[in-house]
């Protein structure tokens, strides 16, 4: 092989490798948009965060994946689990659960903790815990472990005609869960669902359970 060929092959290999690395970095760096609840916030006023859970997102790239959705302050649903809230502020959360439920792997996460009064409101009724072995069970949880916040989301009847494409409308069977908590000081706080709800993955904790934008996210608290 001539020297020219060797140089050409070396340069070609380098370019291919560099492009591969660049695409990998770009793919890994890609993240969902962030919904900003802190913009224009008046000190002393609460912030209202609205979320929904859906059993299957219904759209590319992962139509079968279970997912959270976030409603922006402007009213539109955004496929993201990243949002910003102001520090030391009352956060009023409303979650519409459109998914079915099941018994919990660990009933300890059936407890409501870390909210104001350690209570939540399920369809208007005050609850301290959800018995996951009764009724429709628990579909998901909304949990910020570092803040001790955990709210079990009561499930829908699995035999009902459940919403399968996000965003879901209130016409589909749903459970409404409301609760409030005080945001801490500035920082990034990971939140997640504790129910291993990713069917088909090891122990139910793969795929959407380990992907930002589906069942995990960050609450960024800003000053």
């Amino acid at each position: 092989m001539s020297k020219q060929w060797k140089i050409t092959i070396a340069i070609g290999s380098f370019v291919v490798a560099a492009l591969g690395v660049m695409f990998a970095v770009l793919a890994l760096a890609k993240e969902p948009p962030s919904v900003d609840y802190a913009a224009g916030h008046e000190v002393g006023q609460p912030v209202n965060v609205t979320l929904q859970t859906v059993g299957s997102y219904g759209l590319a790239p992962h139509p079968t994946w279970v997912s959270y959705m976030t409603r922006s302050p402007q009213g539109g649903w955004v496929h993201t689990t990243l949002w910003q809230v102001p520090a030391h502020t009352r956060i009023n959360v409303t979650i519409y659960n459109y998914d079915s439920g099941s018994p919990l792997r660990n009933q300890q996460i059936g407890l409501v903790t870390g909210t104001i009064g350690n209570v939540a409101h399920l369809n208007g009724k005050t609850i301290h815990l959800v018995n996951s072995n009764a009724g429709n069970g628990v579909g998901h949880t909304f949990s910020i472990p570092t803040l001790g916040i955990n709210i079990p989301l009561y499930g829908n009847n699995g035999n009902a005609n459940l919403c399968a494409v996000a965003p879901c409308s209130r016409k589909s069977p749903n459970q409404v869960i409301k609760f409030s908590f005080m945001s801490p000081g500035p920082g990034q706080y990971p939140w997640q669902c504790f129910v291993p709800c990713a069917l088909g993955y090891l122990y139910g904790n793969g795929g959407p359970m380990q992907t930002i934008g589906y069942m995990d996210g960050f609450m960024q608290v800003v000053s």
Binding site: S102, P103, L104, R105, N106, Q107, Q108, G110, L111, T113, H128, L129, N131, S132, N133, G137, P145, T146, G148, P190, Q192, F194, P196, C197, A198, L199, G200, Y201, L202, Y203, G204, N205, M209, Q210, T211, I212, D216
Partner: protein, 326 residues
């Protein structure tokens, strides 16, 4: 050096009329400085810095780990001093002077029997000592705070052992107190001057319970009861982290615990048992391990081992005998 002991060291210059130290003199000087420095600094380090070496002395196993670190550092310090003293001596005494002759290499160490035998003997003694010392310290005291599996080699002699079950799941630890009705909580509170038996298990993948200041570290394997003992010796708070890469929120899988007085512990345990009563009724009976539904996406927590808690004498109330479920 035995060979060529009359050869001047590298860079040395005979001065007019001055008696130049021989190589043997240089070695004796080096050894004397090293022995004096080690004899002063080693005990000083042990006495002054030793008590502050992590992980502290909150438990007997943490104290054991601190002692081990101090022994290792006490052995390492003379080695470090030897290297530094030789380097400094060489730089000061054997450096090339400006305008002087070029440095000349000293006699070769290769083939020097004294150095080779000395080196092999010294390192062999150190390594064999560390092997024996390390093996002994893995077992004493208290099993070194490591997970010993379901049948521990070291078991406590204390008659007031508090069993605490540590349950790992993606991505948090919860704690179950079988002798207080089997309540399960995210808080880890333990009494002072008490032997604790941590029964570590997992509901999904492999985690690792690492209570750093307690000197306790035990893997949390699904369907395994990994037992680790420690005896508390100081009041205070400690950090619990997962030390086995277990998924996206592995880095956020931490919380803190407290060592409190036995009275405060009794009050906390009783109050928590009462406040969690409603949820405790919904938990499965206490078991060393739990097998989730193989489906993975749903299913409750099914006891895998339904023997009553009877491995060791228990602390507090007598636990109710668990019954099989599922």
């Amino acid at each position: 050096m035995s060979e060529g002991s009359d050869i001047p060291p590298a860079g040395s210059q005979p001065a007019d009329g001055d008696a130049e130290p021989t190589e043997t003199h240089h070695w004796w000087r080096l050894i004397a400085v090293w022995v004096v420095a080690s004899a002063i600094l080693d005990p000083l380090f042990y006495v002054l810095a030793g008590p502050h070496i992590p992980p502290g002395r909150m438990t007997d196993t943490a104290g054991g780990a601190q002692f081990d670190f101090n022994v290792l550092l006490a052995i390492a310090l003379p080695v470090l001093l030897g290297v530094w003293i030789f380097m400094i001596y060489a730089i000061v005494i054997w450096r090339a002077s400006r305008g002087g002759p070029d440095p000349v290499g000293g006699p070769a160490a290769r083939g020097n029997t004294s150095i080779q035998v000395g080196w092999i003997l010294t390192t062999t003694v150190i390594v064999l000592f560390l092997a024996g010392f390390g093996t002994y310290e893995l077992v004493q005291p208290g099993g070194a705070g490591g997970g010993q599996g379901p049948s521990p080699i070291w078991t406590p002699t204390s008659h007031t052992v508090l069993p605490v079950q540590v349950i790992g799941q993606q991505w948090k630890f919860t704690y179950r107190y079988p002798t207080y009705g089997g309540f399960e909580t995210t808080e880890l509170v333990i009494p002072d001057h008490t032997t604790i038996a941590f029964h570590v298990t997992s509901l999904d993948v492999i985690h690792s319970f690492w209570a750093y200041q307690l000197g306790v570290k035990a893997d949390a394997n699904p369907a395994q009861d990994n037992v680790a003992y420690t005896t508390t010796a100081q009041l205070g708070s400690f950090t619990v982290r997962c030390s086995e890469l277990c998924g996206i929120w592995h880095g956020a899988m931490y919380n803190s615990g407290r060592v409190v007085s036995p009275t405060a512990f009794q009050a906390w345990a009783t109050a928590t048992q009462e406040s969690l009563q409603a949820n405790t009724k919904l938990l499965p009976p206490f078991s060393y391990t739990y097998i989730p539904d193989a489906n993975g996406a749903d299913g409750g927590l099914y006891p895998d081992n339904v023997d009553p808690y009877s491995k060791i004498q228990t602390y507090g109330a007598t636990p109710a005998k668990p019954t099989s479920k599922g």
